[in-house]
């Protein structure tokens, strides 16, 4: 109360802000925020407004156009049909493998490295490799034919499966890395506690580890799904870009780069982002139904 006159209002504000968690350290956010606002938000707003300024028709006519054309509208379904199972498989396959990778054993470092290395392959090599390897005269079919498992080469490229495999190859390492880190955030003591309570390994997993892992899996699924949803080069290279793998980003690409209809392309891209957001919102809403607090393992 003594002699703090000029300080008063300032201190008052500081106190009010401090209570809400606002203090000096938030300056650290500023560079990143400025950066993203300057280089992303502004151009992105441009794309957004562009989508409401179609070459002809009212502000929403490009959106209407997209949804009134079954061929275009169908791309959403096609994309989901590829991206959802691929993301799901990536996440689900990562779980048991990551589960096995807990604890210490010899060669763990090597195995982890090998599991992460496919990150480096890139879309093009994956696509070329799939065409070569799974193609009608590729080694895969040759082995099948040579062992008389099939009489005719199995067609695994230029259709749904080609794209699917390429998404698995590129998406799995991501999913694996993330799942592994979430899994190791769960205190292994919990599973031991379940064991002393009479749970065999299957029930330990389903009743204890899995429910605790679910939030992490949801996040991983979201990230993998985003990667898979924007699948583009491989949909063209190893898929059937005119038909069953005509994904939504291909529709946007054609609008932008074949028809040079940027407003329409923006509109499609917005729809694409919206669909992604919807799926992510659904997954995150489901995630919030699971227990999301500390799982004991992390600092």
């Amino acid at each position: 109360m003594s002699g703090a006159g000029p300080d008063r209002p300032l201190a008052h504000w500081r106190h009010r802000l401090a209570e809400r968690g606002v203090d000096r350290q938030l300056w650290l956010l500023v560079p990143a925020l400025v950066f993203v606002v300057a280089l992303f938000v502004y151009p992105f707003c441009y794309g957004l407004t562009l989508s409401f300024q179609p070459t002809n028709g009212g502000p929403f006519s490009d959106y209407a156009r997209f949804f009134s054309d079954a061929y275009e509208r169908g791309t959403i379904w096609i994309t989901l049909r590829i991206a959802l199972p691929a993301a799901l498989l990536n996440v689900l396959a990562a779980v048991p493998i990551a589960y096995r990778m807990r604890g210490r054993f010899r060669g763990k470092r090597l195995v982890t490295t090998v599991l992460v290395v496919p990150i480096t392959l890139g879309t093009v090599l994956t696509a070329q490799g799939l065409l070569n390897f799974l193609g009608p005269t590729g080694w895969f079919n040759r082995i099948l034919l040579a062992t008389h498992l099939v009489d005719e080469p199995v067609r695994l490229t230029h259709n749904y499966w080609g794209v699917f495999f390429s998404l698995v190859i590129t998406g799995f390492p991501f999913a694996f890395l993330l799942v592994l880190s979430y899994l190791s955030g769960i205190d292994p003591t919990l599973e031991r506690a379940a064991a002393t309570l009479g749970a065999d390994w299957r029930r330990r997993f389903t009743q204890v580890t899995l429910p605790l892992l679910m939030p992490g899996l949801a996040t991983t699924f979201c990230l993998t799904f985003v990667l898979a949803f924007s699948v583009f080069p491989s949909a063209v290279l190893v898929g059937n870009p005119a038909g069953e793998t005509r994904v939504i980003s291909l529709a946007a690409y054609q609008a932008a780069y074949e028809r040079y209809d940027y407003p329409y392309a923006s509109a499609i891209a917005m729809i694409m982002g919206f669909v992604e957001l919807v799926i992510i919102a659904v997954v995150l809403a489901a995630r919030s139904r699971f227990y999301t607090g500390s799982t004991g393992g992390k600092g």
Partner: protein, 386 residues
């Protein structure tokens, strides 16, 4: 600050509007962007020009990119008033896209007199030039296709008519292949050539004039296993026996055999009454380049259109024959080029080129419409059956 288009006027990067001098005031650095694979044919010409005329072009840089993204990049540069690409080498698609967006400088008729070589265009090349309007200058030309290609060891007598092709495909299901037209030169040529072969009402109007073509493709599609996403793969399938009969062009016939992707003994066949659907590469200048650069590029183009330089366009049959102007002999081409064409070229091409009418391809809009319809009805149609 609203969310308006970021195309507010900025400062110019040098004089872009005034009078274009005969020679640049000082030597320029030229950035060439190739989106058509044209440098394979013309880089030798450009290098030679730069070597001979250092006072015009002091340095040249090359970059290459797939065509579709071209417009976006030029737009971005023009929106910011900083165009640093001096010369774009492009095919019909990139050219048309730029015209529609107003990206290119109209070189004609303003600079007609500086480009004397244009008077000596081969007739079909001249037709391609007319297609380009005033923006592009044809630098290389070839008659393209449609041709059929097969291995004599696997297929003794290829079909020679449209009906025979259909019958053959029916008799040999999954053995006929062509790539998705949007991704493939031969596929595209086949698509555009069919209306002439089938005698459609308006071969230039895919929406309403191609009834027979669409019906034919649909029926043919029943016997096609799948449409690869690139010509390379049809070639590979031909080589490994998965496909017996594929669609090709002159360049795609010769060059892959030179490269070894297709066995040397592969043969071509033609369909009765086919018209060549020609193709060409163009040189264009984006709006916003300085007058000095414009002057330098014009001088370069004039040089490139001389017969001696055009002979380099024979290459290894990549764009066979290649030259756009008359009177260019194979014998004046580089030795390597001559050797390749002698070994892998086909004597019958001269007769075929002479004996069949040439047609310019569809304009960009119609072509996109044709692709789109093909995707919806032919390529996409495959799905529902399989």
């Amino acid at each position: 600050v609203g969310c308006g288009a970021p195309e507010a006027p900025g400062q110019t990067s040098g004089d872009t509007t005034g009078e274009v001098p005969q020679r640049p005031g000082k030597p320029v650095t030229l950035n060439v962007l190739d989106v058509a694979g044209n440098l394979q044919l013309t880089q030798g010409m450009i290098d030679e020009f730069v070597a001979k005329n250092p006072e015009v072009i002091s340095r040249v840089t090359y970059s290459k990119a797939p065509a579709p993204e071209l417009a976006g990049k030029i737009k971005a540069q023009q929106g910011a008033n900083r165009v640093d690409i001096g010369l774009v080498l492009t095919g019909v698609d990139g050219l048309a896209a730029g015209i529609e967006q107003g990206l290119w400088i109209d070189l004609l008729p303003t600079f007609q007199d500086r480009l004397g070589g244009m008077r000596d265009y081969l007739e079909p090349a001249a037709a391609m030039q007319r297609l380009a309007g005033n923006a592009g200058v044809t630098v290389t030309y070839y008659p393209s296709g449609p041709l059929l290609e097969y291995l004599p060891s696997r297929l003794a007598t290829p079909p020679t008519s449209a009906d025979a092709l259909l019958a053959w495909a029916k008799a040999n299901p999954r053995r006929f292949q062509y790539a998705r037209p949007a991704n493939s030169g031969p596929g595209r040529t086949f698509l555009m050539g069919l209306p002439y072969i089938l005698g459609d009402t308006n071969p230039k109007d895919p929406t309403s004039g191609w009834d027979k073509t669409w019906a034919f493709l649909k029926e043919l599609g029943q016997y096609v296993d799948y449409y690869p996403s690139g010509t390379t793969e049809t070639m590979k399938n031909l080589a490994n026996g998965t496909a017996r009969l594929i669609v090709s062009t002159t360049g795609w016939d010769i060059n892959p055999r030179v490269l070894g992707t297709v066995p040397k003994e592969a043969r071509i066949a033609t369909i009765d009454g086919f018209h060549w659907v020609t193709d060409a590469h163009y040189a264009v200048l984006p709006k916003g380049v300085s007058t000095d650069t414009q002057a330098a590029v014009l001088a370069l183009l004039a040089f490139m259109l001389t017969p001696e330089q055009q002979a380099k366009a024979y290459d290894e049959g990549y764009f066979y024959p290649g030259p756009a102007v008359q009177g260019v002999q194979l014998s004046s081409a580089p030795q390597k080029s001559q050797d390749a064409i002698r070994e892998f070229g086909r004597p019958e091409y001269d007769a075929l080129i002479a004996g069949h009418p040439t047609e310019v391809p569809l304009d960009a809009k119609s072509l996109v419409a044709a692709f789109s319809r093909w995707d919806r009805e032919i390529g996409g149609g495959k799905v529902k059956q399989g």
